[in-house]
Amino acid sequence: MWAELAVTAAKLLVVATVLLTCVPIMVWVERRGAAFIQDRLGPNRVGPMGLLQPVIDAVKLFFKEDLTPGGVNPILYTLAPMVSMFVALVTFIVIPFSADAGVEVFGVPLKGIHVAPDLGVGVLYLLAISSLGVYGIVLAGWSSNNKYSLLGGLRSSAQLLSYELSLTMSVLGVVLVSGTLNLQEVIGRQGPEIWKWHAVTQPIGFIVFLVAAFAETNRLPFDLAEAETELVAGYHVEYSSMRFASFFMSEYINIVTISALTVTLFLGGWQVPWLTATLSGWPLLLVSAGAFAAKVALLLWLFVWVRWSLPRFRYDQLMQLGWKGLLPLAALNLLIVGMAMGQGWL
C-alpha cells in the first residue's frame, strides 16, 4: 500500500511540476509568438532566445508590493486568487497523459502518467471543477471594491452561463459514444486510427467544444472579464504582486488543461496512428506521453495564434453566440450522434 501511495505521490509531483513548468514556457511562447505574428522581436535578451524572461518576470512579481486597497472584503479578496489557482491545479489529475502501458514500478502497476486512473467519473469531475474556476474571478471582481472589477466579474458570470452548457452538451456526444466517463477509456475507445477519433466522427461537437474552450479560458476573442481596453484589467485590476501572478498562472494552467482535455476527448489522446498499437511497456509509455505533449502543444499554439489575430466580442454578442449559435449546434451534434449510434455507425 505504501508503495502505491508513493507511486501516486510521485506521479502527482511529476505532473504538477511539468504543468507549472508549462506556464513560463507558455508565457514565453505567447510573447515570442505574438512578436512573430506582429513582425517584431519579442523578449530575446534574458537567457538563450529570451527563454529566461518569464523567470525574470516571476522574480519581479515576487518583489512587487502586495497591496490590499481600502474597502475590500479582505477574506474574499485573499481567497479569490487562491480559488483560481487551486481549481486550475486540481483539474488535471484525471487526465491520462500517457498510455497505461502495463509498466510496474517497485512491483506496483504504474497505470500510465495519470494521477487518478481509477476515478470512474473523470469527465464529470473535470466539468464540475473547471466551472468552479469562475468563482475565483467573480469573487475577485466583487470583493475588490472597484467598479471595473465588478463589471469584469459580472461579465464573467454571464459568460459562464452562456458557454458552459454548450461545452457540456458537446462533451455529451463523446460520452454517449464511449459509454464511459473515465478518460483513459474514452481514449481507448477512439483507437489509434485517425478516422475513429471524435474530432473526425463528430466535427460539429469538436468545433463547439473548441469555441467554448476559448471562452472557458477567458482568452481573446472572449477575454471579456479582463478586456484591457474596456475595463482596464477587469477582475484583477486591484491585484498586484503574486496575487496577480496567481490569476495569471491559473489562466495559463487552464489553457494547458483545456487543451489536454480537447486532445483526450477529441483527438485520440496519446494515440499515434499504427505506432502505439504495436508498442508495449516502457516504449509505449514514453511514445504516448510524447504524442500527448505534441498534440497539446499544437493546440496551445492555436490559442496563441487566435489571440493575436482576432478582435474581441462584446459580451452580449458572446451570450448570443452561446445561446443561439453553440447550444443548438451542440444539440444537433447530440442528435446526429444518437441517430448514428442507432444505425450502428458509431
Partner: protein, 373 residues
C-alpha cells in the same frame, strides 16, 4: 435638437464610472463620467481640460512664424496639417501666393501626414476593439512616413515644417524617390489590414450599427471629416474650398451610408488610398523653382480678419485670425475638429454598451492635444 434620455429599467441600479483620465482607451487624458446600468450606458459626460496649455493665448505673444511650433503640439499626430492651416490663414490675410513647388510640397507632406494620422487611428481603434496585431503593422508603416518627415525637416512628430510664404527648405536629394518607393508599397499594406478586419465577422459585429449618427444630426452637431462623411455627406474642404493646389489633382471623396463605426472605418481606409493617389500625382507634377515667396522679414499682416480652414485628417481645422497690423496676432482662434467631433459622443453612445463606448471613442479619432489646446 431634442435630446432623448434613455429610460432606465424598473430594477435599474445606476452606477457612475469615472472612465479616465488614466484609462487605456481614452486616447490621452479624456475623462468620461459614464452613468451605467450594468453595462448599458445611460449617459456620458466628457470632462476635458487636462491637457490645456493656453495655446491660443500663447499665439498672441508670438510672431506669426513663432506660432507654428505651437500648432505642432495641438493635434500631435498631424502636425503638418496644423502648420498648413496656420500659414494658410496668414498668407490669405496678406494676399501672398506661394510658389507652385511650395504648394505641391505642402500637399505631399499633408497627405503623408494624413496617412500617418489615419495609421494611428487604425492602430488604436483596432486595439480598442481587441485586435492587437494591426497596431504593430500600422506603426511600422507610420515609422516610414516619419522617416520621410525627419529627412525633410529634422523632426518626426513636431515638424514645424512650413513658413508664412512657403517652405523653409527644399527637398533633400533622393527624397522624392524614397517617397515614391513608400507610396508604391503602401496600398498593398492597406489591403493586408483590410484582409484582417473588413470582412472579419467579429469586427463587423463590433462596428456595424455601433455609434450611429444620421447625416442630419452629423451636420447639426457640426461634425467634420470622416465622422461627417461616414454619415453620407460629401464634404471635404479640399474639394469645396480648395487650398494649395488641390484643385489640380484628382481624387475622390469616399462617403459612407449608415453613419456607423463600420462606415467610418471604410471611409478612412479609402481615404488612405486616395491620399496615395494624390501624393503620386504631386510627385509626378512637382515643379521646379523656389520654395519660398518674397515675403518681408517681419511678417505684419494688414489690419483685418480672416478664417481659413484645411481638411485635417480628423476634420475641418480652421484658423480665425484677427490682426491689428502688428507682428503678433491680436487673436488667433482655432476651430478644432476633435473638440467639435467629441461633442457628439454622448449622443452616439447613449443606450449602448460599455464596449461600444471605446469603439466610438476610437472611431471619432480624437486627440486631446487638439481638444484642450
Amino acid at each position: 435638437m431634442e435630446r432623448t434620455h434613455l429610460k432606465a429599467f424598473a430594477d435599474a441600479e445606476e452606477m457612475e464610472i469615472s472612465f479616465g483620465p488614466q484609462h487605456p482607451s481614452t486616447h490621452g487624458v479624456l475623462r468620461l463620467m459614464v452613468k451605467v446600468d450594468g453595462e448599458r450606458i445611460l449617459d456620458v459626460k466628457p470632462i476635458i481640460g487636462y491637457l490645456h496649455r493656453g495655446t491660443e493665448k500663447l499665439f498672441e505673444r508670438e510672431t506669426y512664424n513663432g506660432c507654428i511650433p505651437h500648432t505642432d503640439r495641438m493635434d500631435y499626430t498631424a502636425a503638418v496639417t496644423n502648420n498648413q492651416g496656420l500659414v494658410g490663414a496668414v498668407e490669405r490675410l496678406m494676399g501672398i501666393t506661394i510658389p507652385p513647388r511650395a504648394a505641391y510640397l505642402r500637399m505631399i507632406l499633408a497627405e503623408l501626414q494624413r496617412l500617418a494620422s489615419h495609421l494611428v487611428w487604425l492602430a488604436t481603434h483596432a486595439l480598442d476593439i481587441g485586435a492587437q496585431t494591426p497596431y504593430f503593422y500600422c506603426f511600422e508603416e507610420r515609422d516610414k512616413i516619419l522617416d520621410l518627415f525627419e529627412e525633410y525637416c529634422g523632426a518626426r512628430l513636431t515638424t514645424n515644417c512650413m513658413r508664412v510664404g512657403g517652405m523653409p527648405f527644399d527637398l533633400t536629394p533622393g527624397w522624392t524617390d524614397r517617397c515614391r518607393a513608400f507610396i508604391e508599397q503602401f496600398p498593398a499594406k492597406v489591403s493586408d489590414w483590410e484582409r484582417l478586419l473588413t470582412k472579419n465577422r467579429i469586427w463587423r459585429e463590433r462596428t456595424v450599427g455601433v455609434g450611429v449618427i444620421s447625416a442630419a444630426d452629423a451636420i447639426e452637431w457640426g461634425l467634420t471629416g470622416p465622422p461627417l462623411r461616414g454619415s453620407g455627406v460629401r464634404w471635404d474642404i479640399r474639394k469645396v474650398f480648395p487650398y494649395d493646389r488641390y484643385d489640380e489633382v484628382e481624387f475622390d471623396v469616399p462617403i459612407g451610408t449608415n453613419g456607423d463605426t463600420y462606415d467610418r472605418y471604410l471611409v478612412r481606409m479609402e481615404e488612405m488610398r486616395q491620399s496615395v493617389r494624390i501624393i503620386r500625382q504631386c510627385l509626378e507634377r512637382l515643379p521646379d523653382g523656389p520654395v519660398m515667396a518674397k515675403v518681408p522679414k517681419i511678417i505684419k499682416p494688414p489690419k483685418g480678419e480672416v478664417y481659413f480652414s484645411v481638411e485635417a485628417p480628423k476634420g475641418e481645422l480652421g484658423y480665425y485670425l484677427v490682426s491689428e497690423g502688428g507682428d503678433t496676432p491680436y487673436r488667433l482662434h482655432v476651430r478644432p475638429a476633435c473638440f467639435i467631433n467629441l461633442q457628439a459622443l454622448p449622443e452616439m453612445v447613449r443606450g449602448q454598451l460599455v464596449a461600444d463606448l471605446v469603439a466610438v471613442i476610437g472611431t471619432l479619432d480624437i486627440v486631446l492635444g487638439e481638444i484642450d489646446r
